[in-house]
Symmetry: C2
Amino acid sequence: MLLTTKESKAQLNFSDLDQLTFPAEKHLKKLNEFIQSQVDNFEAEIQEVVSYCLKSGGKRLRALLLFYSGWTDETYVAEELVKAATVIEFIHLATLVHDDILDNADLRHNRSTVSERYGSAVAVLIGDAIFSQSLKLASEFPTVDVCAAVSQSTRRVCSGEIAQNFLKGNSNISIDDYYRIINQKTAELFRVSAYLGAHLSNYDKAFINAVEKFGEHLGIAYQIYDDTTDIFGSEDKVGKTLGTDLAEGKITLPLILLGKKLNSLEKTNFNMNIFGNNSISIENIIPKLKELNIHTDVQHYFNKELKLANTALADFENLPPVKHLLNLSNYLNGQMKEILN
Amino acid sequence: MLLTTKESKAQLNFSDLDQLTFPAEKHLKKLNEFIQSQVDNFEAEIQEVVSYCLKSGGKRLRALLLFYSGWTDETYVAEELVKAATVIEFIHLATLVHDDILDNADLRHNRSTVSERYGSAVAVLIGDAIFSQSLKLASEFPTVDVCAAVSQSTRRVCSGEIAQNFLKGNSNISIDDYYRIINQKTAELFRVSAYLGAHLSNYDKAFINAVEKFGEHLGIAYQIYDDTTDIFGSEDKVGKTLGTDLAEGKITLPLILLGKKLNSLEKTNFNMNIFGNNSISIENIIPKLKELNIHTDVQHYFNKELKLANTALADFENLPPVKHLLNLSNYLNGQMKEILN
């Protein structure tokens, strides 16, 4: 069986970060404890599978964004932020469990995926159960705000994934199409994480709008980074399998930009050969990507998003969250540079 | 390709019912209008698939249970009941879309399933999107009650489905196992439908508890009826494919009761041959079921549940909902008699 790994996507790891730059140790510890404690809230017959899912960990990037958006000071960990971060991490986990079925992925973070270990039927249903429990937690807040925000975001995430699916193998996808898809499938959950953090910490409307904008653009930048890693990542640093998006016919920014620069004969070959054709590996197109300087173009789009993210916070630099949020975008910036240089 | 149809399960049709016995015409009309109007609330790129899903209709049994549990009088259709019924019907629809992937079903209600028409990837995601929209609607109520009730119920429904999946092909399943599974996978959504109807119409706690009990037992009886149809249903009346549960290795009450009555040699053959073995068709075991009078045993279990359902309402016979709820259980009783006689 062909082993498809998602490990290539698991490069960022915030738990290893310097606590001076990223002081969220207590927050992440409480989050992990709360997440683990949730196993008992599932019905007895599915606790083993849930426990397996929850052990997969993940980068907690959305949770960090939520904690920093609602930051007051580092000695105080508000319970509602921990609960809201769990809501978001559960939504994210449920989508990963479902994604791994759709992508036929066998490994994620060096462990068998749920669908590989328990079969795709159980994976569909356990994703549904984790999603349900996420909304159950969301309903434990005193008002309907959290439920409303999270359920609407999740619908958008699904729409983005479906749109991406409809366009698989289609090499005529425009940059606008790409942006609309990643805005829904990725940036939406970043945006709502930022919203929940600032909203639950009672920041005012203007700042909430600002962090939502920050979250949205950080999310787009993150997806560009993630797509870039799949093509330009070094196998030494990243893991083993690169080019999985390409193999699945998923069109990403570097490939769209390549398409725009190819001449018409090359474009014909490109259309015919690359998308959804497993026999063409990533190595075959890397020389062309380098020759046409695609990495510079990708960097340009990435920079633009990070700049929009940072600019959104410009009027609020004295508020406690801002320096941490800017550190988050600086960190992502550094990771992108490592991939492209 | 083997056509697996779910049509056998679509026998009950409340829209054809005599409006004197079941006066819910206005309610169902408003429900259908509201459901159709929801298409616009989904993102543009998925409206076609959503629209396809929503056209499948269905029996609206859970919606009727909700309307009758919150019944005040037939001239007044409360908007919140219509919205809550949509929440429930969307949850039910999302689980059907996901079920059809797991069961490799190609047809439901004589139309291609979503997974057959758009592929299983889209079916997983559209189920998720419909589920999300359901919770979004639930969050439009002034308090978190609807979100809390629905998300918790959905988690239980998934647990029941997963437990059933784990036990597929296992012929040692006990009646207790079966009851626990159908209580979660089916009766739970009936219970919460009844709860929402009575709760939103401001009936008092004692009556809410009573209709929840009614809903739960009606749900168990309905699942026994549904499982019985799959085995004893006449192909003329029901549709074409019977015995789909058997073919999928799904153990249902008639088969468990058969297992209990077989002698040990027969049981060995039964274990070896029946579960998960497509070459054994329903026709092969029907003579044995008849010889051992299994239909009488099934009727006994069914009657017990309907009696528990009806008894739960005994103290409230003067309240407007009760006669309609009793009509609902009488109707199901009549349908079961038709199958077994």
